[in-house]
């Protein structure tokens, strides 16, 4: 069965005809060509396919595409605004928080959702937030550093704006 769904994708409205049984990750990658999000296990274990649904990080491999009808979906492709990287993306670069980069999009999505709901996370809160994102290269230490640094930087930027 096919069905048209409407949702907001990276700030743009989208109407698309999809097979009802298709997972969100497959619709995003195959039909909308957003290959930034990755598939690592298709069982909700690795987090490579993490996207933000409204404000919540979800595994797009465990989510049917029809479930996002009427909602807002943000993928890694929607994080940079007007060509400018987010502070977190920049910190991932500066802190060498990736190596192969395959888990990076999902990792950045989980960490972005964390910083959106908790701008001052502790180290353990960061580790808990990215626990569902497996990284096989880095040992996580530099990822945690990058999230900490981004939080500090965003805090500084916010204070600066208040002045």
């Amino acid at each position: 069965m096919k069905k048209v769904i409407s949702f907001v994708l990276n700030s743009d409205p989208v109407d698309i005809l999809i097979e009802e049984h298709k997972a969100l990750v497959d619709v995003l990658r195959d039909d909308l060509n957003l290959t930034g999000i990755k598939k690592g296990c298709e069982a909700g274990e690795c987090g490579a396919c993490t996207v933000i649904l409204d404000s919540r990080p979800i595994n797009s491999c465990l989510t049917l595409a029809i479930e996002v009808h009427g909602h807002e979906v943000t993928t890694i492709e929607g994080i940079a605004k007007n060509g400018k990287l987010s502070p977190l993306q920049q910190q991932f670069i500066d802190k060498w928080a990736f190596q192969c980069g395959y888990c990076t999009p999902g990792m950045i999505m989980s960490a972005t959702a964390l910083l959106d709901r908790n701008p001052h996370p502790t180290e353990i809160e960061i580790r808990e937030a990215i626990e569902g994102n497996l990284c096989r290269c880095t040992g996580y230490q530099k990822i945690v550093e990058a999230v900490m640094a981004a939080a500090a930087e965003m805090d500084w930027e916010a204070t600066d704006e208040q002045k």
């Binding site: 598939k39 626990e131 497996l134």
Partner: protein
């Protein structure tokens, strides 16, 4: 080119700007693509009309195929191709000069399946769903045969013939027997005169690489030119190209292998996987683009993971605690096939004496076949297992001598200048310093007094190769890597190199080396995302060779550019060219009295091209470390151009009630010579500790009667961000004279000293004797009950 090249124009350490240790801190050249999701991995490619492939796997670990009926699958609408073993005359030829000549693995199995992951048929269809339906419609009739699942049983000549080849003796794969003495001693005499002989038996378990990106391939075919364009998650483009040419009976010119981003490899993407071969055949038959991506479960059952080992070792010490001789028999559980098995036995024999000066050795490594998923290269290629045995042996021997275990290790530690019976020549070695640094970090031995109950500290020291001597294919001069550096009249530098970046940062370090040598910024050097047709040969990312060998090649390419340019400018100024240098986008002059002379990089290049009829400024570089193939027969041979040394230290608590090990702190000292980028080195070391902790405490691929019981990330537990302790690293050690700007290996052998450090710490915490891996709660709990009984 090699270590004997003229170094007149090599940059002097005082002029280093980019690779100068702590001060240097550049970022990945592919950073933007990776943090924005724009970087394309093999499975990300798609084109209109693209078809998808799926395998039909064996249902049994060992069986004879009686019949295959593909008619129903072929009749399913949307199915384009159904392939069986009959469609391929040859097996997969391994691109390795030391490998067995005859392939032992078929592309699709014709008669006998030998493990559960054996592929019997492949389907190519309009989409994944249709391909999966077609796979289910294939009927295969088997005669189920008894299987063999234990490497030690395989040693018995009367055991089941795993591969069904009927050869005698069956089940014995490649062997390596390293014997010799650099002091002309007889090994039995050495054991007879020994003050003490430490005898041990060890076993290790089975794990998998688990790169986050599963194997993937994307292939297009141009029938007019008979040209296949191949993008695969593979770490040796030329190896893939060579295997494809042999398989299809074509020339290498028919295969354009392009390197996409690789989502981690850890040794598991070195060969030409048959998904690439199948995709090529389906693209040829249909004329359409074909994509083949493995699922996680398929990745597990087809992966060539880390060999389980059985090790028996006997080590002879003199009365001072110095090792004088070692005998060992190391049995590798190879699984169903061979592939890279030559290197696994050869290297495991080499590691058996590392990281110590052992003048007299008799080391036998044997790789056995079993009806299980087969094993190959995995980060620290067999060193993780052998180092586990070596280091626990040293810890026990130190106890016998009643000596401090670190001081005890230092007595026999390798040193610069040592030439081992295995043929290895140590050209730089900071092993003792790494031990001292680990001791200082832990405040050893004073810290022992402050330990609480069930708390322990463990150390481990290992050594590893920095590069290899094997170019995979027969190449001129055994050249392993070729690089080209080209400069246009704007002064823009293009770097052409086929060193594979699996995520370790090969592209970044190559760019940094060229920029450093030419006095430019990294943004002035553009690395070409390479392929087999647009850049020179490189044998691939394996053997910890890329920075050392690839780095030396790109450096030599840059040095040739520099030499040509300085000779031209020197003639213009009437100055000896070796008195000129490239600094900060300028040619400067260091000739006495002419220090005011300078010309910008861009103007200098323009002048060069003007003087050369408009020809561009181009430099080529290559590198080889040449040995004979004696290493594959266990004869003395200096396997690598240099060697690296590591010591790790960890502090942990064992919950004796549950067997849970909690690591509080991990320290890692690594002699990688000159670090070319501190952040990259730290990342490699932290990743190594992570990988080693996974191997030691979490990961264990369980196979029952050849069937994997936990081939998913729910049941095969890889460490998460909550499982990894704080990691501290140290890597400032003297430069290696032959390394590019003094650099050596980092990130592969560094996985080896983790398991023994953890085991030694558990031993201190609990008093139990450990001789097996993994050290997950269940195994530790059992060891505690067995060894301490009701006292726990």
């Amino acid at each position: 080119m090699n270590r004997n090249d003229d170094r007149t124009y090599f940059r002097k350490p005082e002029d280093y700007r980019i690779v100068s240790g702590k001060k240097s801190n550049y970022v990945h050249v592919d950073a933007y693509e990776k943090v924005t999701g724009h970087g394309k991995y093999a499975g990300d490619f798609q084109e209109p009309g693209m078809l998808t492939c799926k395998f039909k796997f064996s249902s049994h670990p060992r069986a004879k195929i009686l019949s295959i009926d593909t008619s129903k699958a072929e009749a399913l609408p949307g199915v384009f191709v159904v392939l069986t073993g009959k469609d391929f005359a040859k097996g997969i030829e391994v691109s390795h000069v030391g490998a067995r000549k005859k392939p032992d693995k078929e592309i699709l199995v014709k008669q006998y399946v030998r493990h559960i992951g054996d592929q019997v048929c492949a389907v190519c269809a309009i989409d994944e769903e249709t391909a999966l339906k077609a796979v289910d419609l294939i009927d295969i009739e088997y005669e189920v045969l008894p299987g063999l699942f234990d490497a030690m049983e395989a040693l018995d000549g009367n055991s089941v013939d795993v591969q069904c080849y009927g050869k005698e003796p069956h089940n014995v794969g490649p062997c390596c027997h390293q014997q010799g003495s650099i002091v002309g001693a007889d090994i039995d005499d050495e054991f007879a005169r020994a003050a003490y002989v430490q005898v041990n038996d060890f076993t290790t378990h089975h794990i998998c690489h688990c790169p986050m990106e599963t194997h993937a391939a994307f292939v297009t075919y141009n029938s007019a030119d008979e040209l296949w364009t191949v993008r695969g998650s593979c770490t040796s483009s030329f190896g893939v190209q060579n295997t494809l040419a042999n398989t299809f009976g074509k020339s290498v010119t028919n295969f354009h292998v392009i390197r996409p981003y690789i989502g981690g490899a850890f040794g598991g993407k070195g060969g030409c996987p048959n998904i690439v071969i199948i995709a090529c055949e389906c693209a040829r038959r249909t004329g359409r683009p074909v994509r083949f991506v493995l699922t996680r479960e398929e990745e597990f059952i087809t992966q060539q993971g880390r060999h389980p080992f059985n090790i028996h070792s006997e080590t002879a010490f003199d009365s001072d605690g110095r090792i004088i001789a070692k005998k060992a028999v190391q049995i590798l559980d190879g699984g169903a096939y061979g592939e890279a098995s030559v290197a696994s036995v050869n290297l495991s024999a080499l590691w058996a004496s590392f990281p110590y000066k052992i003048d007299t050795i008799d080391i036998l490594s044997k790789r056995m076949f079993t009806n299980k998923s087969y094993n190959g290269a995995m980060r620290g290629f067999t060193c993780c297992q052998v180092a586990f045995s070596q280091d626990l042996m040293m810890e026990e021997a130190a106890e016998h001598f009643n000596m401090d275990s670190l001081e005890f290790r230092k007595i026999s530690a390798l040193e610069t200048g040592y030439k081992a019976p295995s043929g290895t020549v140590i050209t730089s070695c900071a092993m003792k310093q790494t031990i001292d640094d680990a001791a200082a970090y832990m405040n050893w031995p004073e810290c022992k007094k402050e330990l609480r109950p069930s708390e322990g500290i463990g150390f481990s020291s290992t050594a590893f190769v920095s590069g290899t001597a094997n170019p995979l294919l027969p190449t001129p001069n055994q050249c392993q890597t070729n690089a080209t550096v080209r400069v246009d009249f704007h002064g823009v530098v293009s770097l052409y190199s086929n060193c594979h970046d699996n995520g370790q940062g090969a592209d970044t370090v190559s760019t940094a080396i060229v920029a450093e040598e030419l006095g430019l910024d990294m943004s002035d050097v553009k690395l070409i995302q390479s392929s087999t047709f647009n850049a020179g040969y490189d044998s691939g990312s394996y053997g910890s060779r890329v920075t050392f060998l690839g780095g030396n090649a790109v450096r030599r390419g840059a040095v040739e550019v520099k030499k040509k340019l300085l000779e031209c400018i020197g003639a213009k100024w009437g100055v000896e060219p070796h008195l000129l240098e490239l600094i900060d986008h300028k040619v400067i002059c260091r000739d006495m009295g002419k220090e005011d002379l300078e010309i910008s990089w861009k103007d200098a290049v323009y002048h060069y091209m003007t003087c050369h009829g408009g020809d561009e400024l181009i430099g080529v570089g290559s590198y080889y470390h040449r040995t004979n193939t004696a290493q594959y027969q266990g004869k003395p041979s200096n396997y690598a151009p240099s060697y690296v040394f590591s010591t790790s230290a960890c502090k942990l608590t064992v919950d004796e009630e549950t067997g849970v090990v909690d690591i509080h702190d991990f320290f890692f000292a690594h002699d990688c010579g000159q670090a070319l980028n501190p952040r990259a080195v730290e990342g490699q070391l932290e990743g190594s500790v992570y990988s080693g902790i996974g191997y030691t405490l979490y990961e264990n691929l369980i196979e029952v009667e050849g069937r994997q019981m936990n081939n998913n990330f729910h049941d095969y537990r890889i460490p998460t961000a909550l499982d990894i302790p704080p990691i501290h690293t140290k890597y400032d050690y003297p430069p290696e004279p032959e390394g590019p700007f003094g650099a050596k290996e980092c990130g592969e052998g560094t996985t080896a000293p983790i398991a023994p450090a953890v085991a030694n710490a558990i031993r201190m915490a609990t008093g139990i004797r450990i001789n097996t891996l993994p050290l997950d709660p269940e195994h530790v709990w059992r060891m505690l009950r067995e060894q301490k009984g009701s006292k726990v």
